[in-house]
Amino acid sequence: MIEFAMHHAWLVPLLPAVAFVIIVFLTRPWPRLSSAVSIAFMLASFVTAALAAYGVFTDPHFKHHPLIYTVRWFGMQGLNIDVGIYLDPSSAMMIFMVSLVALLVQIYSTGYMKGDPGYSVFFSYLSLFAASMLGMVLSSNLLQMFVFWELVGLCSYLLIGFYSFKISAREAAKKAFITTRVADFGLLLGILAVQIIFGTLNFDELTQMAPNFENYTTAGMMTLIAVLLFIGPVGKSGQFPLHVWLPDAMEGPTPVSALIHAATMVVAGVYLVGRNMFLFAEVESALYLVAVTGAFTAFFAATIAVTQREIKRILAYSTVSQLGYMMLALGVGSLTASFFHLWTHAFFKALMFLAAGSVLHALHHKADVWEMGGLIKKMPITGWTFVIGGLAIAGIPPFAGFWSKDEILLAAYQSGHYFLFLLASITAFLTAFYMWRMIFLAFFGEEKPENHPHESPANMTVPLVVLAVLAAVGGLIGTPSTPLWQQWIYYGHPHHIEPNVIIMLSSIALAAAGIGLAYLLYVRDKEKTNAKDLARRFQPVYKLLYNKYYIDEMYQWFTRVVVDGSARITYLFDIYVVDGIVNGSAAITKGLGSVMRYFQTGKVQTYALVFYMAVLVITVVLAFTDASSSVLVMGGAE
């Protein structure tokens, strides 16, 4: 059974794809049936994934010898591409996590999306997404990965724009697609360079070649490749400066935000960098770039999150920030820490999104946390699971987030990038603060009389509970005392970082301080005067943060003025210059014709005159150009 699952791991992505096809072509008119099909296939996929993962994690052989099955996809002289599966501990972990979260989100959606006219379509998209995401995780080469990478992007586009009749959703979807497209341009270039330089895109072959890259190319080129490859993840994982689409992506239905824009798709970038660690590891500078980008993004997004008011936006910026953590970990060389955080983050962030969805569901999509309050009384399950998520993300032991975040801080510290470590630590404080600011504002304090919240139905709360459990205990597999994680998921050789008590304690302290500050400002201070006062006192800073550093505006300006402007200029050039030449020559031809026709006067003698003038001209020209006739003699007559 396990054996079967491992050797048929392609079933994992295929099953949801089948569900997609069935829903689109057969069951679309029957919503309940569609969701049943979707969930059934997802469950099958999850079981297969779990079995396969179990198989991998029980045989240490796979630590160094991934299970690879490939078939030829297409090829020609100079370019041969396979498709296949690449099953190693990392991908096993990912398929387990992705299929699990996807399954839970689908179950949750049966409640959340109830009655929506696009119910069936929604489930078909979710299935397609799951298929693509799982396919990407299992990819055995870069091109295949890129294909699925784009497909998850497509699903993201479709799902963000699910309420496409809303202009904001439409624009957000477009923005997401285009922003990631810009990034994918870099990724594509990187892939092309790899193909041309190494002649293959297969991970197993590249893994062998990368350490000896001097045989193929220069270190500079190698760095360039790594940087190009990294651009893709910058877009997909919402790293600065291409993070702008992710908060807007919250226009999609909340289950989508949970699944795609928190737990799975956005970590694809992290996964891609991790998967290609063999390339990045060869070039120090590229790795450093990853680290800096990650750390800065983490901090930067956290500062924005502090001032935001909409519940999903806060979560979105928090996601950006957490993704920054993961990148930082990769950058400092710790695949272990990065993927560990990826793992825990998936659970607690999905949990928080789903809980937020539950809140929105109850409040009829009123999103501003300042207009909520005291929800925990009416919505205990949602509230308490949210609190668990909050504890996890803030880094309070023994919740999952603590262990993974600690691992990252530790890795950063030990890599010697103290500044990055400092930035990460501050971020930890900010994270705790803004998260708990939100929790306190939304769930505690006074109830707002205009709200009539009610607890969500079981199909929504059950996934919450499951995720809450995972968020609580999911980190226990990687504690210093039970370093299971560290033994399985690593790059090169297992990390045996000595736990550093000071760092551990300081991170707890920072988290506690953040929560405490939030408590002081938003619970103790019933009127929130201090908070408002602070905002007023630091008005410019507050505005800057609240407006997300005006990056969106800059991009908009760039698109509107530079891109559209040059497009307009090109077009005008086209119709007036390029086409002008064409029309001009046509006009000249026609004009010549209509002018010359007037030589045809209709008078016989004009014609005769032209006739004999021509004879004269021809004679003269021929007599003067023909060499043999230069002697003026009458040859035949003499």
Binding site: F74, G78, L79, I196, I197, M221
Partner: protein, 506 residues
Amino acid sequence: MNFPVLTICLLAPLIAALILIFLPRDEERLHKAVAAAGTFTSLAISLYVYFSYNRELGGLQFVERIPWINDLGVSYFMGVDGLSLPMLLLTNLIGFSAVFASWNVKKRTKEFFVLLMVLVAGVMGTFIAQDLFIFLLFYEVVVIPIYIMVIVWGSSKRVTKEYAGMKLTIYLLIGSAFLLASVIATFVKSVQITGVPDMSFHGLGQVPFPEQFQIYMFLLMLIGFGSLLSMWPLHSWSPDGYAGAPTAVSMIHAGVLKKIGGYGLIRLAVYVMPAGAAYWAPFIAVLGIAGCAYAAMSALAQKDLKYLVGYSSVSHMGYVLLGVAALNSVGINGAVANMFAHGVMAALFFSMIGFIYEKTHTRWIPDLGGLARQVPRLAVGFMMAAMASLGLPGLISFIPEFTIFVGSFERFGLLAVVAIAGIIITALYVLRAGANTLFGPPRQEYDDLKDIKGPEMVPLVVLGAVLVVGGLLPSLLFDVINSGVEPIMAHIADYLPTAVQIGGGY
């Protein structure tokens, strides 16, 4: 002699046209049925040929050869190889779909379908003719039917249909004058050199033309085929022409007719004049790249859907040129595959735009919006075409583009990056168009639109299926193409600049 499969394939639409001529004027449904039957026959035959073609063997198959004009060394020489086969299939896919995309034509249907059948047969002929002269006979068969179809059934927007039709026709004809001149010169030169007239592509390919001669001739052929392929800056007929043309013509023109340019460039110019190709390749690459970027930028400024797709197709043809210019196996494979992919995609795009125009009477993007709610199936077709246009993996156009990028990146390095950047702009305009047409708040005036159904679904189903199947199983396409490209590459290998050592360029 074998059963003349290809001739029958070629004649089926012509026979349909002949039957149509003798049908009464007002039997509209019958006209459509006959046209559909004719194109379906061709489609079925070409599918049969495509899948029974022996890929391992490669080379010309289904050959028919009858001496035709002895003093010119012309023979009625039909056959398919890996290069013509996808194009043959493409022609018939689009021809068949075009009949159904024209299902709502009400005006003078008899003439319309007669001309359409001639059009399909003409295009098909160019792809299966293996003799240069016969190729030329078919090359311009289509020009006049197209003109008449544009002026009678076309639409006037930014430019009048009369202007569009005339521009399309005269532009392409003048381009072809250069081609004809070079063909005549090539023929005369080949007789001078070998003493035996032979107009088959293969025969001409064996003639050792002097290098200088090849260089001149290649330039002329490039002008000829380039204008048909809407190579920048010879592209300006294309957006206007497509905008003026009726749906079926836009489909066939953008879908396959244009591809004759790329096909001819490979089949004739590169194959017969390899030294010329090697000489001009960087120039072609620059034009191709300019075309990609320039047309993509122009497309971004468009508000009329047909203009948008018109410019977009110019941009995509830039990729084809780039692939050809790479002059390596990968690049040319990609170029041919991209022609196929773009053909399917453009035809689908134009047919969907045709339906939108038919139903809403506008193609002006700001006047549209929210159609996804009112006509969901139409929206699906539109989005599929749009996604294929921006090169979404999983649809047919990604792998060809990728292949072209590999081929050209290898040869031209940084230069190719500009073209690859075109994918961003493409995404921008395609998504904008999709978003502004299909999404957003539905408009009241379109509330009672009828979604496409019945025969109208055929283009979406046929072309959409090809989009997806070709995207998932690119080897279906590439194995065939490769079997045609390899011999060409082997043939011209001696003339090519020494291949860039892998990685050596950096």
